[in-house]
Symmetry: C2
Subunit: 192 residues, 2 copies
């Protein structure tokens, strides 16, 4: 648990998660489609998607606002928005300004707004990287003005560091059975 040890080559040690139950034998569990991190990255794992969501969170709605503020080309903005639409992250709704034809504005869905912790966590992490600090943004709580950050917390309200976390398979009995079924269909893979 020795955080903040920048004192030379002495390294951090095994401050990692505890693997519980059958997952302790990590190699027995290949992450075909069940890793939620990978699933998430398949949908928003691209830089253009992330920065578009960023601008939508900042309140941009019109196509040219989003393209300009993200510094993406029209083509990328267009195809990414189309994909975000298909994935249920943004919705399009018509609007019409007086003397203009009907256009569409883009707004985040609930699923899109649920990316707020992801973006905040990335922003926090980017803080400690090289680069300009003063020109950057500060995100605060409108109520009290205090700066915000993304933290990992358990349902009981405790803040959880990496070494205080444990990972286990959700429905272990089912997962073991599913693996057995898969093994009958195809020859055994990792078992030897």
């Amino acid at each position: 648990m020795n955080h903040m040890n920048d004192d030379g080559p002495e390294v951090a040690g095994p401050d990692v998660m505890e693997l519980q139950g059958a997952f302790a034998r990590r190699d027995d569990w290949q992450v075909k489609g069940w890793c939620r991190i990978e699933r998430a990255l398949d949908v928003i794992g691209t830089k253009s998607a992330m920065v578009i969501v960023r601008e939508l969170l900042y309140g941009g709605t019109k196509f040219d606002e989003l393209a300009r503020r993200t510094q993406l080309s029209d083509a990328v903005a267009s195809s990414r928005l189309k994909q975000l639409l298909a994935d249920g992250i943004v919705e399009r709704r018509p609007y019409r300004e007086p003397g203009q034809r009907t256009r569409y504005e883009y707004v985040l869905t609930d699923r899109g707004r649920a990316l707020f912790p992801v973006l905040t966590a990335l922003m926090d992490w980017g803080e400690h990287l090289e680069g300009d600090r003063r020109g950057g943004l500060e995100v605060t709580h409108r109520g009290c003005g205090a700066p915000v950050s993304a933290v990992v917390r358990c349902a009981e309200g405790h803040e959880v560091s990496v070494d205080e976390a444990a990972a286990r398979i959700r429905d272990e009995a089912w997962a073991v059975a599913a693996r057995e079924r898969g093994r009958k269909a195809s020859p055994p893979a990792v078992d030897n």
Copy 2:
């Protein structure tokens, strides 16, 4: 603040961040190098980097463990680890098992472990996507056994939703001056 409105085409409304101060004129501020989200993504914005960090958090240390468990090819695992090393996210330290030559194991640095909220936020978000739920992982607090999630919180301890958040430029006076300096060097861009 109408969360969870899946009732048809009625959309969510302007549940977005408030832009304060000079940042309210969003178009006046191009995100050249100061956006921490983009800086973060330049370093870990790739799927292979993310899944390697995931495995390191799960406790993997040896090269072949990491390559096998991430399902990445040796080549990708190798070059990504090299890059993570250069970026200060992992450290390599020699170890030697009896009757073996010296090898290296990979461990996260503090900066690497600081990605825990990012990965947790992604995992949370991936929850609501299509796909298998039962085979998935559950991350809990070792102390009390409760499941963990990533939340956005202010320094005063309030949980902050998107529409309760505000963004402003950190050092606004400096940023305005810096922009003026830049404008002298090159012809005005967005002003007219």
